[in-house]
Amino acid sequence: MAAEASWTLEFPYRRSLGPVVGGFFTGLRDGKVLGSRTRDGRVLVPPLEYDPETGESVQDGLVEVAETGVVTGWAWVTEPMRKHPLDHAFAWALVKLDGADSSLLHALDAPREAVSTGARVRIRWAGERKGHITDIACFEQENS
């Protein structure tokens, strides 16, 4: 017997989404970015079902925000791992979309020198959208 073998633990999970996550993904499929509103009026993008600070349920319904925004945090990936969204060097970016009060984490496809806190970016949509976080292919520079 080999002292060692490789093994892939593999399963295609099927996750039900509920109205908030499902609403957000429905919006992405349709090319819109939607956020949820906490009771004190903060807009969360991506939307959570609850106020992350208090646990209180958010208000009913989602509100649309812009597909442009500002980088609030970043990290530059010099060598992507095989499952990362991009196969060349990229940045993970926290992006506060215009109209939102929280930041969305996704890949930013931009040259290293263009990656900084405060940089303006926009969503690059995926070619085929199916209601998934990867309907946002990544962010790119707003003026590219």
């Binding site: 593999e10 399963f11 999970y13 099927r14 109205p19 908030v20 208090t54 646990g55």
Partner: protein
Amino acid sequence: MSVKTAVVGVGQTHHKKVRDDLSMAGLLREAAIRALEDAEMEWKDIDAVVIGKAPDPFEGVMMPEVYLADALGCAGKPIMRVHTAGSVGGSTAVVATHLVQSGVRERVLTIGFEKQSEGDTTWGLGGGRSGSVGAGGYFAPHMRAYIDRANAPDYIGPAVAVKDRLNALKNPYAHLKLPDITIEQVMDSPYVWEPVRRLESCPTSDGAAAMVLASEKVADASSKPVAWVHATAVRSELGQFPGRDPVDPQGGRDCAADVYGHAGITDPINDVDVLECYVPFSWYEPMWLENLGFAAEGEGWKLIESEETNFGGKLPTNVSGGVLSSNPIGASGMLRFLEAALQVRGMAGEHQVEGAKTAVGHAYGGAAQFFAMWVVRTEKP
């Protein structure tokens, strides 16, 4: 120096094969918010959260307390996660109780959950390999050994299956609703893990169960009846060793002796008004009746034959419908504890056992090697 502790609120989801209307956080929150409402509390009132669930690959989320922390109002608060296999719902409630009894926290929210529909439990139990026999395949030889040893009639298992499914009709949250089920129908259903038939097996469910445990000071101020925790106990034994008796495990016997001793129960069949025990396969009811001291060895099935574990019998057992009617694994044990609490609060609605003052909740897991129990009463200890 132990702080008297009570269940001051409970909540559970409507358990279903697929709760396709909710996210995972949404599932837990449905149960948790119901428990908070029952306790007349808000998220801010909770000091700590203890959650429990079965193996992480069931949903494919590792250590889900990390993702769920703020969904359960825990930004700036403590949250911990227990995992003791099938007994986890019970063990989790025990940890939450200890947090209050120790004086460390005053109001603790505890939640057990499973969203089995996200993945495949048989796959998960087999570590993703071919040939997984699931829990039923594992336990079937033990049930065969019981039937053989106790010389039990073949209709006893089916009778339990029918009883629990008819009980479930009185529980609005139960998953399986089989109003026309009969013993003949159960006996005609195909074997899955012979001697276990399909209709003698638990369903796979999505669901969550939540309770708020609170100190005497808080409980005394409650406007509703509370369930006082008189005793808790857990026991673990090795899953495999020479001389182990998986049909009547010593761990289960010791666990029962421990809670009875602390709750002053000397004659279980007469001292206990309602039993909620973990019966995922029908034959486990007579097995646990013996293991938990409600019947002598080899006599458990006679309580079923004489319908003493039915509604209106001497020891109504799993009047909620039990695990045979709803099985969100990580919540299943907690549901036994929760239903026991509901009974002594007199708030079980249609499945209320009239005058229930003392109830026992029980859960088991692993290779029938992990046990958790509690005794709750209407009266303060």
